[in-house]
């Protein structure tokens, strides 16, 4: 047998072409998961038909679940032609299980026997063994025989999806497809540490004494804070007067002398900013800001010293915000798991419904404080929406009843339930107050069997008769009858209807 492996994108036509080209009469066609051939059941039928047309037998193999279903269904005819069927809505009340069989009545005449000749004592002695015998017979034929009938009936899958709104504080209502939702509240907290990025220059201002000269012929008062400027390498270093000073006017010598003596006064100054560059040596000249140097000037009288500076790391507002945001993001990842750990038994959280608010946050240092790292402890208060799985089951139970075709009933086997959260969109909502979810139930419906009627029809029947009766019931695909005790030649169904057990299973 030649194996032909199809690629996922190779369609039915491609498969047929490859099979036709094959030199072997038997071909194993291996179809990959997700093969486009599985998009339509006709593809497989066509491959098979065309293979047969060229005298080849094809066997399909796949691990794809959908593909397996299709291969399995390929040889079974389409279930029905329901596109033409007429559903009789008014027949819903019809009792299809009515037993309309007429029961024949037999009247048997017994010979009359006179018992007058029997004495009461003798009657008593006779009655006891008879009663014992009757009881024995009753026990053997009525109580002991038991039969178990396993019926395998045809079934079909029933898949139903309904969109259900889960509402906080809502009331379960199958007509409006609303499920009661419960608020789940929790808190989650965590800490995180990050390096600080803020920088700050700290230090001391240089101080010292200057001598201020007055070159004018009028006394001059300089207020506290008057700025003196020292210029070096095109940079200006500013100092402020520590207190107000008055500089006397220039003294001119009397003619014929032409010399003048500038008025002067010592004054304390302090650098406007911190830093070592403000440490200026003795004798350096300073200008008075806003005044002409031809009128007023100053020189350092005693070294201006003490100026120093250094850069330190501090907490910035950005650091705090970044840490807060990062931790918030980290905590958001724990919303679902935290809320889930707070659920009561039987409750399910609607994932994604949780909302979070910052409840508290505590930093290890304030903005501008010197620190190499910053620690934050953040607590979020969470609220989410949950539903009860019992409620979903009940709601679906009531909804499913309407979808069971006539003549069928829910099998109760292999019921699968899935709840898909639809999220936020134009037509759906997901929040902590309400959420639209799609509930899908996959189950099977099986042909409705009237167990009581079958039991009645089996009472006291020989095994072969019982088999004939069951075999004649439409829609029963297979059956198995077990009678106990298994006594040769006494293989009859029990006369006691309650000893006949019927077990119905879907195929």
């Amino acid at each position: 047998m030649e194996e032909i492996k199809l690629e996922m994108y190779e369609d039915a036509v491609s498969a047929i072409e490859r099979i036709v080209r094959s030199s072997d009469a038997n071909v194993l066609l291996i179809l990959p998961d997700g093969s486009v051939v599985f998009e339509n059941s006709l593809n497989l039928k066509l491959i098979k038909k065309e293979s047969e047309r060229v005298g080849k037998e094809v066997t399909f193999e796949t691990t794809d679940e959908i593909g397996k279903n299709l291969i399995e269904m390929m040889d079974t005819p389409r279930s029905s032609s329901r596109e033409f069927s007429t559903k009789d809505l008014s027949s819903l009340d019809y009792d299809g299980d009515r037993d309309t069989t007429e029961k024949k009545k037999f009247l048997v005449s017994l010979p009359k026997v006179s018992l007058k000749w029997i004495k009461p004592k003798l009657i008593f002695l006779l009655v006891i063994p008879i009663l014992v015998l009757i009881s024995g017979i009753y026990f053997v034929f009525w109580k002991v025989p038991k039969a178990n009938v396993k019926l395998v009936v045809s079934s079909q899958p029933l898949i139903k999806s309904v969109t259900v709104k889960i509402k906080k504080g809502g009331v379960n209502d199958s007509s409006t497809k609303i499920l009661a939702g419960t608020a789940v509240i929790a808190q989650v907290s965590d800490s995180n540490t990050a390096s600080t990025t803020g920088e700050k220059i700290i230090g001391k201002k240089a101080k010292g004494k200057v001598k201020i000269y007055n070159k004018t012929d009028a006394e001059k008062e300089f207020k506290k804070g008057t700025t003196l400027v020292y210029s070096k390498d095109s940079k200006k270093y500013k100092f402020a007067l520590a207190s107000a000073v008055t500089v006397p006017a220039r003294v001119d010598a009397l003619p014929p002398a032409t010399t003048s003596t500038w008025g002067e006064v010592d004054a304390n100054v302090e650098a406007v900013e911190i830093g070592e560059s403000y440490n200026i040596g003795n004798g350096k000249t300073l200008d008075l800001e806003d005044f002409k140097s031809s009128e007023y000037t100053a020189t350092v009288q005693e070294d201006l010293t003490g100026g120093e500076s250094k850069t330190i790391k501090v907490v910035s507002a950005t650091d705090q915000k970044a840490l807060s945001d990062a931790l918030y993001k980290l905590l958001l990842e724990k919303v679902d798991s935290t809320l889930e750990s707070n659920l009561a038994s039987g409750q399910k959280l609607i994932k994604g419904s949780g909302t979070a608010k910052i409840f508290s946050q505590e930093y290890s240092a304030l903005v501008d404080a010197e620190a190499d790292s910053l620690k934050l402890t953040q607590t979020l208060s969470l609220e989410g929406l949950a539903y009860s799985t019992d409620d979903v089951n009940k709601l679906l139970g009531s909804l499913l009843k309407d979808f069971v075709p006539d003549g069928y009933e829910l099998s109760g086997e292999e019921k699968q339930l899935s709840v898909e959260i639809l999220g936020n969109s134009d037509s759906t909502i997901l929040s902590s107050d309400e959420a639209d979810v799609q509930v899908t139930v996959k189950t099977f419906v099986r042909v409705k069997i009237n167990e009581d009627a079958i039991k009645k029809s089996l009472v006291s029947k020989k095994l072969n008769e019982a088999e004939k009766i069951i075999g004649g019931i439409k829609n029963i695909k297979n059956y198995e009858i077990t009678i106990s005790p298994n006594i040769p030649f006494l293989t009859r169904m029990p006369s006691n209807i309650s000893n006949i057990q019927i077990e119905v299973k879907k195929e």
Binding site: N40, N43, S79
Partner: protein, 414 residues
Amino acid sequence: MMKLPFDLKFLKNKQRPSNKRFLTIDIGSEVVKCMAFEVAENQHGYYANIIGVGKETLSYGSARSGIVVDIDEVEKSIESAVERATLELGGKIKEVIFGVSGDLSLGLMTTVRLVRAKGDKITDKELDDIYSKIHEASYNQALNELMEITGDTEEDIELITSSLVYTKLDGNEVKDVIGQEGKVLEIAMFTAFTPSFHTKMLQTISKNLGLKILAIGSNMYSLTKSLSFAKGRYFDSVIMDVGGEVTDVGVVFGGGIVSTRSLSIGGAHFTRALGKKLGITYLDAEQKKKSYSFGRLSPDENARVEDNMYEIMEIWLSGIELLFMDFTGVKTFSSQICLVGGGASLPELVNFVNKEPWSKSIPFRSPPEFIKLTLSDLHKVADSTGKVYGLEDIMPASLSIVYLEMGGYLNGIL
């Protein structure tokens, strides 16, 4: 009642203004077709006038049989097709109707009969309840049928089209049963469904392109409804849409579609086969196929094309035979087969289906007769662009009937 995945607000609008504009978009396997329409009126009533046509080739593999594979690429193609269709219209048209077909559209007719004990007057509420039950029943039926077709038990579907085929009261057909008395009420309704993932995909694309979906319509239904104005309300027919990757077949009885099936072989397969046989590229093969369709090849070349497409035609026809056999409930098919879709342009296709004895195994009433539809078969559509002439244009043109029907423009006509 099932939720329809589109906006029906304008249905509430009692007025029926002319000059209303809208778009139809049909996403095929190889091309996106967009048509711009304007509602117009003549002595026969309202109709949809084509005022713009835009087509854009889809990049290879971005869509398959209408299924969106690469949403970005398809979105770009739709945007371009819409632009082309509306280029000369002086203003944007946002309202759009999407068509779905092939494996994306499952159509079926559901008939219910109700014996009413009292036989009293039928009320709105009673009718609504019955419609609701029909929708639910058809939804279940569609899910089960889809499972049989695709084997997928997890597919979720949405109702996209729901249309009354007929209503009978005590055996007599009635137009409006509300307020009438009768004991036996029979209602036949056509419903079409599409997988939910496709609806969501179209909604996403529309949102991104600033379009507003008015409806997602079944192509097969639109064409049937459109044809009913030319062929009569109760016409019987088989509609065969030979698309790029898919051939869709719809069975019409009494003017209503009773069922649809699709085969995953279409015009693109013919092109691919031709390309392989002739050792030429797909685009060259497509060109050759078109030249053949338009009769531009020499007799020798013609014969060569026909020879090289013989095998794929055989496979296609074999599939068509299987497809007809898959309509399990049809006792007899109408012998009139209406052809649409770009793939049906091939002259060899009609020759092939006519000469092969395939139809003997299918219960046609008489040997089938193939008719290629033209725009003149759609009485409620007119073309003012002169650009609509191919078989591939019929489906997007017929989609306009959905707008006319939803907007109440057809009230009182049928």
